[in-house]
Amino acid sequence: MTLVIVIVIVAVVLLASGGLVVSTRARHRGRALPESGASQVGSTKAPPAPLEPPPAPPRPSAAVLSTTKEPPASIAPSEPGPLAPEEPLVRPALRDRLGRARGLLAGYLEGVRGRKGIDEATFEQLEEALILADVGITTTTRILDDLRAKVHTGSVAASDPAALLQALQSDLVSMFEGDVETLSYGDGDGPTVWLFVGVNGVGKTTTIGKLALQEGREGRSVVLAAGDTFRAAAGEQLESWAERAGARIVRGSDGADPSSVIFDAVQHAASRGADLVLADTAGRLHTKVNLMDELRKVRRVAERPPGQLTEVLLVLDATTGQNGVVQARQFTQAVGVTGIVLTKLDGTAKGGVVLAIRSELGLPIKLVGVGEGPADLVPFDPVEFVGALFG
């Protein structure tokens, strides 16, 4: 037991020494960072970060710089070219893919449709359906209160459950109204930069791989920045996508500062006149203060000219429950998320949490991942998405 006491005491001293606790500057992950002092090129190349407190402007590490200088070592030499014929890039209709997972809610909604009129039990059934789709109790309650009001005022006839479903469906679709669902490109000279963030295992690297292929197909030259220097073999994973997409890739050594990798990628893209940099980052739980600080720095570096940071995309796994709202909030606070990529929507999960995110934070959903193939990343379509919820 003694040690419990001792821990508490140490904790108390630490916590109570007020001034010490306030500062929460970037802690880095367990691995040691390569020393950046050695790189004199870096210091001339990198302007001091405007938002950074005076010391330590993020500089590319020596290791990273040396690899960028030798293109064959780290940059896939293949130029964007036509894809192999066995990889036709036909985008699937969202409905077809989502159709695989019908059934769960269909029963509920059939139940509602089959009722004679609208009563409290109808609303209970709808509530259950929405909760099972991960819409969350708060948003569900809000949506149903609106519906109740409609029935109350007579704009939906109390005897017509089908009309109620119709109203619900259009309410949900209208939640996405006014969204810009397309990805935006910079209009200046430098390369456009899209930054991908999210918790572990949501599919950031895969999303980037698919997108690299699609953007390459549309004639843009793409550079991938392997900013996940933490997870074992994340760089290799991205590299195999780069090969497949015929995109260039800039990698750092394992454990290197992700900002420096992204900085190098942008520089590289600018010098080659590339159009687009897709910047990967390591998955991180939004509760890890130090890692979120690291991400803030990544963003600051990514938006430096000549790069034009136009999108910060939060990748979200469709199986995520209500924690998705917390994730969206935290990542938005930290790095100003501009849109959501909802992945793995081809499973049984409905991804209803985006409705909660939409209603609480107003973030647009930009892309939807519906399969393993490179074409299986499609623009978000509210009508199809909501239609699939009602599957």
């Binding site: 508490v8 108390v12 203060v289 199986t319």
Partner: protein, 466 residues
Amino acid sequence: MFDTLTDRFDAILTRLRGRGRLGDAEVSEVLREIRVALLEADVNLGVAQDLIERIRLRCTGAELAKYLTPAQQVIKVVNEELTATLGGEALKITYASKPPTVVLLAGLQGSGKTTASAKLAQWFRQQGRHPYLIGADLQRPAAVEQLRVLGAEIGVGVFSEPTDPVSVARSGLAESERLGRDVVIVDTAGRLAIDRELMDEVRRVSAAVHPDYTFFVVDAMTGQDAVQTAEAFHHTLQLDGIILTKVDGDARGGAALSVKQVVGRPIAFLSTGERIADFEIFHPDRLASRILGMGDVLSLIEKAEREYDEGVAGQAMDRLISGRFTLDDFLDQLRQIKKMGPLTGLLSMMPGIPKEMRDAKVDERDVGKVEAIICSMTPVERADPSVLDGSRRLRVAHGSGTSTTEVNNLLRQFKEMQKMMRGVGPMAKLAGAGRPSNKAKSAKGNRKKVKGGRVTPSTKGLGPPR
């Protein structure tokens, strides 16, 4: 994880505390709130409803004990039902009589199978086994590479070849027998439960290696879908247990409750962080207590035993009580604790720690600063901080790269603690009662409870001290 659920229950149950009797209306109200709390925590709708019904029956039924207050009764019932839902006891691994013991991991994409495989291998090694890893995820680019890197990090061999998952598994098993390994862990590709082809493939992998344990790896942040997916995997593979990953986030862990309930297999392990050592066997009873705000003393003690030098701690305790606790001792303790992992994680496991303290972000850099400050002092100063006058303090601040304010803060805090300990030292030995009145003292009050042997949850004095 589970903290927000804890807070919710806390709030609900606090309101019950002042009440004399609970009528049906009050019980209904409380149950409604518990339902919302459960659903917000992603507990599956069906599971939540069952749980609520069981609690309702017991709260309104004849079962209520006379000697407990209504609040205590509800807490007791909720605690028992949560524990029951989470499963009674921790999983005990029984090793195959004819080695190797084969463990198969399966789950959705991105649930953390590869990382969990490596962590599990490390865990088996700590149990004195000789694990071997088979990388049968040939789907995701560089998945095998990831496993190899992790395997190299923990010194466990990894087998894979670019053929097909079934033959990789089969040859890997043969190879492990040749090498005389006694535990084999098979990592498989992530797959959707509705992907018939891939589900069939994993079934064939399973048939090829005859696993002794098949674990379903599931992300703690999963929503309502967890149940469906788990059922599908259970149907295909006959699961033996669940590995819950990414538990170090702030998801409320409803998936854990639901999957356990629906599949009827225990949650075997929790993956609690990014380090390979952040992996522990799951104790349902302790978790339920944690959900109810009672801390997880047992896990803490186990963690401590693994990494803490008991002799040093005991010595420190003696000095502490006798009032001879110097900054040097403090430094020793600090370093010991640092070995055990982030302080924030440790705090969350303690019972009765006030919320603001549990939530406080202790920056590891601050720990470093405190270390630096103490290290910048002379032995004389460390033994007797009162000799530190203005000029010495300035020197220490310069030496440690901090400011005099920070040095002053540390010294003041240290002095307070010394004073406090001198006051309660003798009492602490007798596990006497003390009135908690501030942060520091409530921590102290908590210690007494621990001393008094309050390790398993009893019905008296549940919940955090107010």
